[in-house]
């Protein structure tokens, strides 16, 4: 019946017209703006380069603790007064620690935006770090770390990173360790704000109902007080270890598996070809080979996927699957076989055409909320993609040829992935079995 559905596909959607403005403020700050006047509100996304990877050894979780405390009292407002004002004005202010950055997000209705930017300034310039919130947030983080010690998804990922990046900052737990969090003092938090929140490691993206002229002075209010230069430790690139299978024993009915390989850097000439290759193997949901082979044909798992991770110090290709203990060996075999097919160039014109129409046609779906657009504007600046990237992006995808995908696949999938299995898997005779306690403490790589 649906004739249209079966017809050959052409690129969907009409030409995409979102334009990005560069906002330069009197104080010399830069932000990228998408003006979207449809709803009377706006979102500011900001990102300070550094993040968990820049936390000193022995202070794992420092970025996370700072992020948790920036909105817990600033200037003359203690924690309760600060949070009450945010809530009463329906202002959403939130900070989070990522692997490579400390990220902030501010959302406000137009009517309260002056005060919203002032509260953001206070959070960045004058955080109080009063004893009560410091101890409360410290305890919330250690409680969360404790809870996750037996969460198979967390442990699987943590063991993967600990082993893949043994001796590198990425091998240390980005979410922190109980010991390190207990040892963090107010002086450490204050030093963080002083040294790591600066103008030269900051990028800002704004989307919403505001013009460049209106935005510039507000940006200066919130950010111009920051020191010019951040004092960051050297952040050294790394390459993840490959070719091993690690098992962390846990008594659960279903094994949880993280697998991964070195990725291809965002500025590499093969990046878009790798992006297409990942779509074909595991990024495309029901259109992906892994889902087809593992779930649809064999019923081995509910979820199986992969993605390119643009980590600054080590581009990655990461995937995951969760399978009944007695079938996890079979799932891993199927995954290995599919990666081999990709590495050997078993990719057809149809695979490429399908990837192309999805990746280009779905791009406009990312422009339906201010929050998504503001985050994208930050990502574009971090990766130095250029202010006209949105107009050029689909052409990069269109330009990828079958030869390009085959070459990128050979680069990506030549090595055997590192598999981190948590559970009680049968088979997997050549796997390294870690002790449960060691793994739970985040030192799985030494097992």
């Amino acid at each position: 019946m649906p004739a249209a559905a079966l017809a050959a596909t052409t690129a969907p959607g009409s030409a995409f017209g979102t334009s990005v403005e560069r906002v330069l403020t009197p104080a010399g700050l830069e932000a990228w703006l998408v003006n979207a006047p449809s709803v009377p509100l706006l979102t500011v996304a900001c990102s300070f380069r550094g993040g968990a990877a820049a936390d000193p050894a022995g202070s794992e979780g420092l970025s996370r603790m700072v992020a948790g405390l920036l909105d817990e009292g600033a200037g003359e407002l203690d924690s309760l007064a600060f949070r009450t004002e945010l809530e009463d004005l329906a202002i959403r202010l939130h900070f989070s620690a990522e692997r490579d950055a400390l990220a902030g997000r501010l959302m406000t209705l137009n009517e309260n935006r002056d005060r919203a930017f002032e509260l953001l300034r206070m959070a960045l310039a004058e955080p109080r770090f009063d004893a009560e919130p410091v101890e409360r947030i410290r305890q919330q983080i250690t409680s969360d770390l404790q809870r996750r010690r037996t969460d198979p998804n967390t442990v699987s990922g943590r063991v993967w990173f600990a082993h893949a990046f043994d001796g590198h900052a990425y091998g240390r737990p980005a979410q922190g360790t109980t010991e390190a969090i207990r040892g963090i003092e107010v002086a450490d938090l204050e030093a963080y704000v002083e040294k790591r929140l600066a103008r030269d490691n900051l990028v800002i993206g704004v989307a919403g109902d505001i013009t460049a002229e209106e935005l510039a002075p507000l940006l200066d209010r919130a950010f111009a007080h920051l020191p010019a230069r951040a004092d960051l430790p050297p952040l050294l690139p790394a390459t993840p270890v490959t070719g091993a299978t690690l098992v962390t024993p846990m008594t659960i009915p279903q094994s949880v598996v993280t697998f991964g390989l070195p990725g291809i850097a965002r500025d590499d000439a093969d990046y878009y070809a790798a992006y297409v290759a990942n779509y074909i193997i595991g990024g495309g949901g029901f259109a992906s080979r892994l889902l087809e082979e593992v779930r649809e044909k064999r019923g081995l798992a509910y979820s199986v996927y992969s993605q390119l991770v643009n980590a600054e110090l080590a581009p990655l290709w990461l995937g995951g699957v969760a399978t009944r203990n007695d079938q996890v060996a079979q799932s891993i075999d199927v995954i290995r076989g599919e990666l081999r097919r990709m590495a050997e160039g078993d990719i057809g014109e149809t695979d490429l055409a399908n990837a192309r129409t999805y990746l280009t046609g779905s791009f406009p779906l990312r422009f339906t909320s201010n929050e998504s657009v503001a985050r994208m504007l930050v990502g574009m600046q971090v990766a130095e993609l250029g202010i006209d990237y949105l107009e050029r992006r689909n052409a990069f995808i269109e330009a990828v040829s079958l030869t390009d995908v085959a070459r990128a696949s050979a680069r990506l999938f030549a090595a055997e992935p590192l598999f981190s299995v948590v559970g009680d898997p049968l088979g997997l005779d050549d796997a390294t079995r870690l002790s449960p306690l060691v793994a739970a403490n985040g030192n799985g790589g030494k097992g």
Binding site: P12, G13, L80, A322, T357, Y358, S362, S369
Partner: protein
């Protein structure tokens, strides 16, 4: 294929300005304009969910949801999502206790295509037995991921079962393991034939579209599906709760204990006189975020908990639950935390609330509802879940006004009626030493006896 749990904070609605009409076959159509990008979010909601499972087949509606991707005469098995993807779209589906919903987010110029495909599988599902069995295995794995691997989810499942003795809200949305293992192709098709008809469905489209553009497309696609009588949703009625219930799950993988207190509560559909709106204000005032009464008293002032909060979601066809979750701080005993919680509840019921805090919470809820417009799908989800649980478009659009009308007296009355320990269930999740409880794969063992 997601599950939409009943518990959890609902998005505030209002000011979406939808337009609507009903097709001749009884299918309601709702359009919400949002011209930000040349895309649409297209959803079909069926008024059927896990609470309508046949006896012994809990979760069958969720199984059918998965099987709806397994083909029709026109679309080969597994091709549905691939076709959508080839046209630059995302698709998925979800099941709750009260509804089953299917969606595609896609370029506006592909809307007619997905409407044609969705209307096709409303009437023409074809199921190959081999695909049915493989999908049953997928659902068993989904259950392991969502529940059996997660002690917190196991407690939640037991809590629902304890809260409802008779009403089918006692059933896990995904179904009990042994009942999933018993599903057949015939079960799924019989359920499909019984419930899937245009007159039991609602089309909601948000995005770069007007109702005038949508109407002819809807008439040409869904409008051609013949109506059929579908059952009334007459669920088993819950008897009055006469005794407080307490459950405790001691599990070796629990490192941090936690507490949940659940009270039976009316929903928007079952409550009279704005009671559900008063409960929404109460939940926010008592346990919504970092300045709520519970957080200030128990987390900040008394330092007994690392976190605490209250949830009430009124979009439920039958009576629902008002829940409070907390986890103790450090070595604080669960009993101590529970006493502190009961003391706060006692204070609220005895002393009431003050005018200023009620006004503050109401203004915040209404202001926050503007954020719901900064999204393509929030409005669809608000209308879909409301219209499948007995509310109307007017109820949703009038939500800010209804919240504004809630009085201090109504909040106090709602609290007095709600907080009756005799109508509560208390759930506790605690650590256990190895071997002190059945092995976690006991669920798998049950399957062989089912």
């Amino acid at each position: 294929m997601g599950l939409n749990h009943r518990a959890g904070a609902g998005a505030p609605a209002g000011m979406f300005h939808p337009s609507t009409f009903t097709l001749d076959n009884g299918m309601q159509v709702v359009a919400i304009e949002n011209h930000r990008a040349p895309v649409v979010s297209h959803w079909v909601w069926y008024r059927v969910g896990t609470a309508d499972s046949p006896p012994g087949k809990s979760g069958l509606p969720h199984f059918l949801e998965h099987l709806m991707f397994k083909g029709t005469e026109a679309i080969a098995p597994g091709e549905f999502s691939k076709i959508v993807a080839r046209h630059g779209g995302n698709d998925n589906a979800m099941t709750s206790s009260d509804f089953t919903a299917y969606f595609q987010n896609i370029a506006k110029d592909r809307l007619a295509m997905v409407m044609e495909m969705e209307a096709d599988r409303m009437a023409n599902l074809r199921l190959d037995p081999a695909h049915v069995l493989a999908e049953r295995d997928v659902i068993l794995e989904e259950r392991s991921s969502r529940v059996d691997n997660q002690p917190g989810a196991m407690l939640h499942e037991q809590l629902d079962a304890a809260q409802f003795l008779n009403h089918p809200y006692r059933l896990p949305i995904i179904g009990w393991y042994h009942e999933i293992a018993s599903y057949t192709r015939e079960d799924a098709l019989a359920f499909y034939d019984l419930w899937y008809a245009p007159n039991n469905a609602i089309l909601v489209v948000a995005g770069d579209i007007t109702l005038d553009e949508l109407r002819p497309l809807a008439e040409r696609t869904y409008g051609r599906v013949a109506p059929r009588p579908t059952p009334e949703r007459q669920r088993l009625v819950e008897p009055p709760q006469l005794a407080e219930r307490r459950i405790e799950l001691a599990h070796e993988r629990v490192e941090q204990p936690s507490l949940v207190r659940s009270y039976l509560a009316p929903s928007h559909a079952t409550a009279a006189n704005g009671r559900a709106h008063a409960l929404e204000v109460l939940a926010e005032l008592f346990g919504g975020g970092g300045t709520s009464r519970l957080y200030r008293a128990i987390v900040v002032d008394q330092a007994l908990a690392s976190g605490i909060g209250a949830y009430y979601r009124g979009t439920s066809l039958d009576q629902t639950a008002f829940r409070i979750y907390g986890s103790p701080r450090g070595e604080v005993d669960l009993d101590r935390l529970e006493q502190a919680l009961d003391a706060e509840i006692g204070k609220l019921v005895a002393d009431g609330v003050n005018e200023a805090e009620v006004e503050r919470v109401k203004s915040r809820l209404i202001a926050e509802s503007v954020y719901a417009r900064d999204s393509l799908t929030t409005a669809v989800r608000v209308f879909g879940s409301a219209l499948t649980t007995g509310s109307t478009i007017e109820d949703v659009e009038g939500w800010p006004a209804s919240i504004a009308a809630v009085t201090k007296g109504q909040v106090e009355e709602a609290a007095r009626e709600l907080f009756d320990r005799g109508r509560s269930v208390t759930g506790r999740l605690t650590p256990a030493r190895n071997g002190s409880r059945p092995a976690p794969d006991a669920a798998a063992a049950d399957a062989s006896t089912g």
